[in-house]
Point group: C2
Chain length 331, copies 2
Amino acid sequence: MPRLSEDELIATYFAPLAGPAGLNLRDDAAVLTPLPGQDLVLTKDMLVAGVHFFPDDAPETIARKLLRVNLSDLAAKAALPCGFLLGLALPPDWGTDWLAAFARGLGEDSAQFRFPLLGGDTVKTPGPLTLSLTALGHVPRDTMVPRPGARAGDRLYVTGTIGDAALGLRVRLDAPQDRIWIAALTPAARTDLLNRYLVPEPRLGLAPALRRHARAAMDVSDGFAGDLAKLLGLAHLTVRVPLAAVPLSRAAREALHLEPGLIDTILTGGDDYEILCAVPPGECVGFEESALALGMRVSPIGEAESGDALPHFEAPGTVPRVYPQGSFQHF
Amino acid sequence: MPRLSEDELIATYFAPLAGPAGLNLRDDAAVLTPLPGQDLVLTKDMLVAGVHFFPDDAPETIARKLLRVNLSDLAAKAALPCGFLLGLALPPDWGTDWLAAFARGLGEDSAQFRFPLLGGDTVKTPGPLTLSLTALGHVPRDTMVPRPGARAGDRLYVTGTIGDAALGLRVRLDAPQDRIWIAALTPAARTDLLNRYLVPEPRLGLAPALRRHARAAMDVSDGFAGDLAKLLGLAHLTVRVPLAAVPLSRAAREALHLEPGLIDTILTGGDDYEILCAVPPGECVGFEESALALGMRVSPIGEAESGDALPHFEAPGTVPRVYPQGSFQHF
């Protein structure tokens, strides 16, 4: 397959995705005139082949996941997307077909989310494909929703459903001990779970409700139990979550019915890219109504309480589940 | 050596480098209130161990090079540093000693250049250490010096000296065919060349002169001849550069005297991190005076002429040297 120089590669695949601030990717830098009265919100995520995605995933979905995990961080801060810078370290075996497909996926999502490419860097690596994206968003001055700041009595909400991506990864890995429940899943459930792992859905639409009603928020990406502990731990808070309050998709409920032990994967598996937020009691009705009006599903999962205990997940007639960081353990 | 979690690693080594906008690196994102009347300038560079630096280079100098190659891009746009986001993909054999030294180098330069850490991401990689940095700078509204825009008759200037880093890399590589001239270098020259390769000097001090007098500018990082061709090619211009006009350090002159063939390395080797700019004839006196007042060395290297030929490097009694992209060739 013919090799392109860095300049040819940029001109062919990436310049078409550049917004006006990207100066057609022909300069050393991008220039952005900040919108008056707005703060900039900045975030960066790296993805490594074989660690964060499968090297043989479709290049389009790798590109879309890269954009969306960063958009999810912006969404959790109630920010709207401005644009992004892309870093691409390409292994020796990349080909132009791969790059064309990657740029196609990137371009589709860049257009869908009005999130233009501003600049970046393309280098060679003897290692695995490594992607780095810096996302810029904006919020009206002083309205970024922070991660710290939850208080005792705040109600905790989460968007969408939890655990689908982690189950999708297990379906994808298809380990021998999982084959019975995977084989018993309906084809629709299997597809839904796989898709949630491949292409997350950033909850950007919730921004106005978050900004108006939430006291603290973060995106759930490293596992629901652990991220909940992070949000609350910053404020010396804890929560008891009824397991029945954790929002599950139809596909996740189907899997859990087949294999009840999957609850631990659901609660700790990661890659959810949902938003977790704390809403003061007096704002809950307003938040729920606003989310409904925006077409965003939000589920209350419990109330923050003072204390340094890890979140407890409770179900009638069973001992509570608690997940110390990085692992899990049943009491 | 004990391993730290990502959160511990960030809290221990990187949170101390974070400016107020970085929110102590405990949030999903950084928030930046743009300075009134300023544009943001954004650039990104990736460095891969074994490609852009030696894996056994001192971690402090790897960190400093990473910061400085990005600061050089800002400098070439006449921008002043605001802050940066850092992406770090760590191989399995990283240790806390390495990270502590890396953070120390990063912290020293971050303080020296008033360039705080705003955020970033740390991941694991089965491949080589991979670093990604997104730099933010600012310029007064509409004063970023672009790369395109040079015109016939503009005088071309370059800061500092050319070729030192490329010669430093040859000293470092110490290939058999280079050993005679390397052994004949004075120790001071050898050290100077090695240091220029390890730690570039971003020419941030030139910003006021560039902004006021230059029509176009870029940083010289991929080789002087090729970057000159890029700047001029965008405007269908060319130049004849007297070899005697290319500014050389004492160390480079010493090497060139020992081995005249090194002129090709000097002109094409890269890693200079100097600024190349085009100044209209009526602005040249002002530019030179302003650079002098700022303590910045600038050297005129020739005058832009209409034409699509590659830049010619000329010396009396020899055929001109021309370097087609990515390689070189003598006529």
